[in-house]
């Protein structure tokens, strides 16, 4: 709460307390303790991961210091959101104004990502029920 980000804290609390534990336990239940030995060498993926990590670390050097009031993020559109949203949007929660209206396009993308992730999980592990039903008939 030191960051005054109640909405984010709320999300994290709901996801962390409500869902993550269940998914963790469910994953443990359907996986085994040992990884299958892989035939492939993982050299190229490892190089790619290390190279990406180095680029990201290099980029970190250009970030403004933490909680810097002069950071571009606080000087560009944030003042307008804080000062004008009561007049333009007319609802008290500025976070909701930004999320749903000013950045509605981003939020549509986020919802699409969640939907796509759900479809992906269904494609990967959601099909086993039919197979089990066939076994039940035997």
């Amino acid at each position: 709460m030191t960051l005054d980000a109640v909405d984010v804290a709320f999300t994290e609390a709901a996801v962390g307390a409500g869902i993550a534990t269940i998914l963790m336990l469910a994953t443990l239940a359907i996986t085994s303790a040992r990884q299958k030995p892989s035939e492939k060498r993982a050299l190229a993926p490892m190089l790619a991961a290390v190279a990406t990590g180095l680029v990201l670390a290099y980029g970190l050097a250009d970030l403004p210091p933490f909680a810097d009031p002069e950071a571009p993020a606080h000087r560009h559109v944030a003042p307008r959101y804080l000062n004008e949203s009561a007049k333009e949007i007319g609802i008290p929660n500025v976070v909701t104004s930004v999320l749903a209206s000013y950045r509605g396009y981003d939020t549509l993308g986020e919802v699409t990502v969640i939907f796509t992730a759900g479809v992906g999980v269904l494609v990967l592990i959601g099909r086993t029920r039919h197979r089990r039903r066939e076994n039940d008939d035997e």
Partner: protein, 136 residues
């Protein structure tokens, strides 16, 4: 869970309040902390709690697979549909100002509708994940 009478009785009482709280977070998101994402997760967690205690088949009776899948897609459609309606009403995509009598009334209506879409999709995807995992 058949023998855990305290868990069963308290879940029976709590689930109603968890779902009610989810609806409160959903529709009070413009005034206090909250919104579709949080409400969807809380709603999904309430349903999963019911499934954990009374069995996933009992939950499937209340919310069948096909309905959860449809609601997941309908939420995204509702969100995008609000954007398209805004275009038809003469504004830009997702510009809610043209939806109501005054710009702020339109914004309010648009935000409530898209938050509802977000909540529908998040809640049903969470329940879908639970179904998919328990199917194994």
């Amino acid at each position: 869970m058949r023998h855990h009478i305290i868990v069963r009785v308290s879940t029976r009482i709590l689930v109603a309040f968890i779902l009610l709280f989810a609806l409160y977070v959903q529709f009070h998101g413009d005034f206090g902390p909250g919104g579709g994402f949080q409400a969807g997760v809380i709603f999904g967690a309430g349903c999963i709690l019911y499934g954990l205690v009374f069995g996933v088949d009992a939950l499937r009776v209340v919310i069948p697979d096909a309905i959860v899948r449809s609601i997941a897609a309908l939420g995204v459609l509702l969100f995008a549909g609000v954007g398209v309606v805004a275009i038809l009403a003469g504004g830009n995509f997702l510009d809610y100002s043209v939806l109501g009598q005054t710009p702020t009334a339109g914004q309010h209506l648009g935000i409530i509708l898209i938050e509802l879409g977000v909540g529908m999709t998040v809640a049903s995807v969470v329940i879908l994940l639970y179904y998919a995992f328990t199917n194994r």
